[in-house]
Amino acid sequence: MNNTNRALNRTLLLIIGLLFLALGALGIAIMSWPTLSDIWAAAGENARSWLDQAIAATAIAGGGLSWIGIGAVVAIVVVIVLLILALTSIAGRRSKTVLRSTGAQNPLGRVTVNESFVSDAVKNSLTTRDEVLSAQVTANDVRRSPVLHVSVTPRQNTDPRELVDHVDRLLANLAVLTGRDTETFVSVHTSLRARLAHDQRRLS
């Protein structure tokens, strides 16, 4: 699971969608409604004369440059930079977390179990099962609390309940071993590999 800001995704999509729809609807309206065509032409002429005056008033040292033009370019650059920032901030940012479980101090010392141990233990245990094609275990931060994600791709025709119950038992055993029952999310997937693979492991 990643921490993509979904609200930002949908807000941007909505704003851009509304912008496109408004422009498209305006184009259709002024092409097919004479009253609006006249209003459009008159408003356009007014806007052009205002813009010409504004450009002349803000001309830099009597040359071809004007502050209006520079302002427009700066505004466009700022919007583009903001859009690029939005793109980079939401593109698949994964919140990796280090899962660390420290047991109580005992006469022999203290045992600390980290994410890679949990991940390898669960993964290795799952991949020894015939019905499991692949398994992946990661730890993520969700609302500042660690969540273990066990992702399993079984062979076709595998009973999902049996598989989930097995994962549950495995995690419960691990929790006893490590002294910490981390919140866990299990996802069972199908994939092209699952569809192409034989539904039983070949023995030879």
């Binding site: 993509t4 995704n9 999509l13 729809l21 052009r48 520079i70 989930v164 069972v188």
Partner: protein, 194 residues
């Protein structure tokens, strides 16, 4: 999966993030803005326009109602409006993914519909004694469609298949109740065959 953290995980894993659509929309907007910005810069530097300079573009926009060919302008506007509408629909619809949530005590479990479908089809194959190819299962958010093609002369009761499918689905403990629809398809017997 009663904790807020797992509820959030379930919500995120069963709904589309709309990242691809947002990416396309933002890239389109960036390209349009970059082009406009480039034309303004070229105009400020008194260089020839790439396609249309700002002054000419402004003039074209003012004269849009009389622009020719009008059909092309209307078609372009319709396409723009449709793209906008698609983006709006994508932004406001939930975008549920084809996955089901399974009840699993303190854990959050999400299973692809394809996994449920193939497991159910396999179970029905064992129950009915038919070949795996004769059974097709489609799993949706609210319904499970089972199509069985038993072949000529093989007796099969629809109610039995329905009961077997429902009993198997019960064992999966899906969080959302689904309706099971069973269809028995028999090949038409050719009476005029000699």
């Amino acid at each position: 999966m009663s904790t807020p953290v797992l509820r959030r995980v379930i919500r995120r894993e069963t709904h589309s993030p709309r990242t691809v659509a947002m990416f396309v929309a933002v890239i389109l907007l960036i390209l349009a803005l970059a082009y406009i910005g480039l034309e303004i810069v070229l105009s400020l530097a008194a260089q020839p326009a790439l396609l249309v300079g700002p002054a000419a573009a402004g003039g074209w926009l003012i004269g849009l109602p009389t622009a020719q060919p009008a059909g092309l302008v209307i078609a372009g506007s319709v396409v723009l409006a449709l793209i906008g509408l698609i983006f709006i629909v994508l932004a406001v619809t939930p975008g549920r993914l084809s996955r089901h949530v399974l009840d699993a005590g303190g854990r959050a479990v999400v299973v692809d519909n394809g996994v449920i479908a193939s497991a159910l089809a396999q179970h029905l194959t064992e129950e009915t004694g038919l070949t795996r190819d004769s059974i097709t299962v489609g799993v949706g958010h609210r319904t499970v469609d089972v199509t069985v093609r038993p072949g000529i002369g093989i007796p099969l009761d629809k109610a039995d298949v329905q009961a077997a499918a429902e009993a198997e689905l019960q064992t999966y403990r899906l969080a959302r109740r689904v309706r099971t629809r069973v269809r028995i398809e028999r090949p038409a017997e050719k009476e005029d065959d000699l």
